[in-house]
Amino acid sequence: MASTVLFPIFFLASLGVGVGHLVSAHTGLVQGQTYLHFIAPTLLATTTMQMAEGESLFPVLAAVKWLRSYHAAAATPLEPEDIFIGKLSWVVTRAFATGVVYTIVIGSFGALQSWWSLILPLLAALIALAFAAPLVALAARSQSEGPFIVIYRFGFVPMFLFSATFYPVSSYPGYLRPLVQFVPLYHGVALARAAAFGEGSWGAIVCHLAFLVAMAFVGVTWGRRTMRRRFVD
């Protein structure tokens, strides 16, 4: 638990304070916030995604293929869907708990400007579900970790860099801005900022939420099928 929360705090400390210094010296405020406050809520979204990915790929493949602990569970009154939901419940709970601690920490140095920031832990839970569900579904049908490495290199790392976590979308030239809408993490980031600063149009917020909810829904539906197929062939 401690290490999960410390990870984004370290990012915040180094980038928020270090880079923040540079930013305030040259650019002043970013969208009306100091750099530190600007990136504080978004780091929650990003590290939640990383945690979800870390729990959902290798550990699931290990449990399914090598350690076969999921097979042990499948020989009991449980159905494969129960194992799947159990796994997701764990990831979501972890994300929520981390979100609570992190929100308290960043609130304590004044990064939160709105009562909406109280839903940040719930948002973390949603982001975790949106990413974990499809990833577990994928891992359950994987035979090797090859695809994971590809996803990591061409999916998560780019998302981490290009989701407007460390800079506003307005930093992008006009023609690139619409593309950011296709970066799943961006929606989590946008919602985190909206919650922390209490700003943003309702229309945009609903779209961001819809994107994440759709991801979660597709992931859960798919996962129920792949888990069933893997264990009840």
Binding site: L67, S69, A74, T76, L78, F231, V232, D233
Partner: protein, 309 residues
């Protein structure tokens, strides 16, 4: 009610795409007996076990376990089964005791019950001193005993063991067999798959011999041996590559002959007499061994292959 078999399988078939792993097998297993599936790797034993554990759905055929249909009552049936899989599927990061208690939670047992049962099972598996050690630190034999103990946490009526002693040293195997005898005396029905004929002979009241997805023989071990083999076998090794001429010379001395890559087997009733006759005829093997017929010979007779390729 008590005369109903605990498990009844009719024409079970399991297909994976175009490949038929199990080609229509039928058998009944009575309460309290130790029933074996003997066959080489790839015979379809594990696929059959997965169907019997109500985890895998048969492609066709009918199956009742405890009088219930597994496709309709899967969780209910699995709650009364204990399954010991071929690989130890333990949680390596947890302790021995935690593995038992955590697994028991899947059966909705109360924590109090679990604590008591875990202690009993640790005694049974002779792992009480290692109760708080991480499973990762245990030896292979201990992990196996823990896997079996774990399968008993819900006090199953039927225990299914898939190759329980593969990879264990003789001492560990004998300890395990002894534990399984104990369970049998307590009335737990057991289904055991194995490719070890000594295990099948020791543990099973009745068994079926499987090869390439089909049952080639069924019955108590002694009966199978009496039916498909002679009383004794003379195993001969010769210092020569000319097995075929030997084949002709040896034929009159035995009821049946089997030529293996490294040995020639003579199936006879009295091995010592046969050896004497061979000496009398001037046939001198490099080594000669007289032994009783085993299930290996039954398998060889029925399929033309050895149990271990």
């Amino acid at each position: 009610m008590t005369n109903d078999p605990i498990l009844d399988a009719r024409d079970l078939v399991k297909r994976f795409g175009a490949f038929e792993a199990v080609k229509g097998v039928s058998f009944r297993i009575e309460r309290g007996e130790s029933f074996g599936f003997l066959g080489p790797n790839g015979a379809g034993k594990t696929s059959t076990m997965r169907m019997l554990s109500a985890v895998s759905r048969p492609s066709s055929g009918s199956l009742t376990i405890f009088g219930l249909d597994p496709s309709a009552h899967g969780p209910q049936i699995r709650g009364r089964l204990g399954v010991v899989p071929q690989e130890d599927t333990l949680e390596l990061e947890l302790t021995v005791r935690q593995n038992l208690e955590m697994f028991g939670r899947y059966f909705d047992l109360s924590r109090q019950t679990l604590r008591e049962r875990a202690s009993e099972l640790l005694e049974f598996a002779q792992l009480s001193e290692r109760a708080n050690d991480k499973v990762d630190d245990l030896s292979g034999g201990m992990k196996r005993r823990l896997t079996i103990a774990r399968a008993l946490i819900n006090r199953p009526e039927l225990l299914i063991l898939d190759e329980p002693t593969t990879g264990l040293d003789p001492q560990a195997r004998h300890l395990l067999w002894e534990r399984l005898y104990r369970l049998k005396r307590e009335g737990v029905t057991q289904i055991i798959t194995t490719h070890y004929m000594d295990e099948a002979e020791q543990l099973c009241d009745r068994l079926v011999v499987m090869d390439h997805g089909a049952i080639v023989a069924e019955g108590p071990p002694r009966d199978l041996i009496a039916r498909h083999s002679t009383r004794e076998v003379v195993e001969l090794r010769f210092d020569t590559d000319h097995q075929t001429e030997l084949h002709h010379r040896l034929t009159p001395f035995a009821q049946r002959l089997e030529v293996l890559p490294d040995r020639i087997l003579l199936y006879v009733d009295q091995g010592d007499d046969t050896l004497r006759e061979l000496h009398g005829a001037g046939i001198v093997p490099a080594t000669a061994l007289v032994r009783r017929s085993s299930l290996e010979d039954v398998f060889l007779r029925l399929t033309g292959r050895t149990l271990v390729d």
